[in-house]
Amino acid sequence: MGYRALASLVAAAAFAGSGAFVLSHPKSDAAPLQPPVASAVAKASTAPTGKTQAPKATPRITLQPGVRATDLPGITYTHVS
């Protein structure tokens, strides 16, 4: 009788505890992946090749005739010092 009551008590406590754990850990679709694989991939894919400056805002560029843009990576770049 004593063992049966103790076993019932343990089972009831485990049931209540697991319920409480679930309620205190709700699922969030917005939660970040751990480790943050997605953002690392995004950063790597947008990393510039060559030495071309990456300003904070998009620059408005005007080139006069005689100056050509190129797809080659820059060997160096002009920047604020």
Binding site: T52, L63, V67, Y77, T78
Partner: protein
């Protein structure tokens, strides 16, 4: 391609060349360090500091300082007064009194806007005179001029980049020009200079940065954070970039048109 990177003039410097004579890059770096020591305002014993300390009297100056002072007067004329080498008192009042890595110091009352540079600075062969109370900071003009001068010495196919002020001489590796980052693109430069002026890097407090507007003797208030320019020389590119920044997004394009070979404007926000 031969290349060499080092730190001088308060920033990163790079030299590139093709078919250069032996030791050219090493000698180029040594010359830049030597010029830094002579032209820095952060050492009381530099030639520039001694020249500033002697304001009010004629003093003998080296060929290099004489050339740079003449270049400062030319920059003042070309920029219609916006590139003014005698804004050092205003820069000190704004708190830029020591090497930038040590941080700013408390601001003091801004001096009145400086008189026109030709009224403050006289240059003759082997000598120069600064008006009493005036003081010179060569800043970007020195970097541009040194890049032009070093590229002319290094060889027929080279690039000299001194803290972002650069000159690309010759056709580069492909024969079409040297590929150089400009804004968010890359351009091919052949016998051209490039420079960038901005308010965000040397900043030590809200509205406190190293670009002094000579019209107010205070750090410039502008809607541009960064302007890059292309020109026939690095010195002119430096002048154009600084004027563009001081004029702001509305006026800069019209001023740069017909002067610069290209420009990149980055607006606030």
């Amino acid at each position: 391609m031969q290349q060499r990177a080092f730190t001088a003039l308060g920033g990163d410097c790079e030299l590139f060349g093709i078919d250069l004579a032996a030791d050219v890059l090493e000698r180029g770096e040594a010359w830049v360090h030597q010029m830094h020591d002579r032209l820095t305002r952060f050492s009381d014993t530099s030639e520039l500091s001694r020249f500033n300390a002697a304001a009010g009297a004629w003093v003998a100056v080296s060929d290099e300082l004489e050339a740079l002072l003449r270049e400062s007067l030319r920059a003042y004329e070309v920029s219609e007064g916006l590139v003014h080498a005698a804004t050092l008192p205003a820069l000190l009042a704004a708190g830029y009194t020591r090497d930038f890595t040590l941080g700013g110091t408390p601001t003091t009352a801004a001096p009145p806007p400086p008189a026109p540079l030709p009224e403050l600075l006289e240059v003759r062969t082997g000598g120069a005179k600064l008006a009493r109370g005036a003081a010179i900071d060569l800043g970007g003009i020195a970097k541009g001029w040194l890049a032009d001068r070093l590229a002319a010495e290094m060889g027929a196919n080279c690039v000299v980049n001194l803290c972002g002020d650069l000159y690309a001489r010759g056709p580069g590796e492909t024969g079409e020009g040297w590929p150089v980052g400009f804004g968010d693109t890359t351009v091919l430069l052949h016998d051209m200079g490039a420079a960038t002026s901005g308010t965000t890097k040397r900043m030590w407090g809200p509205g406190l940065h190293h670009l002094i507007d000579p019209r107010t003797a205070r750090p410039a208030v502008t809607d541009l954070t960064e302007v890059s320019a292309l020109a026939k020389t690095a010195t002119d590119a430096e002048i154009f970039a600084k004027v563009g920044l001081l004029l702001g997004a509305t006026e800069a394009p019209a001023w740069l048109q017909g002067r610069a070979l290209g420009w990149s404007l980055v607006e606030n926000g």
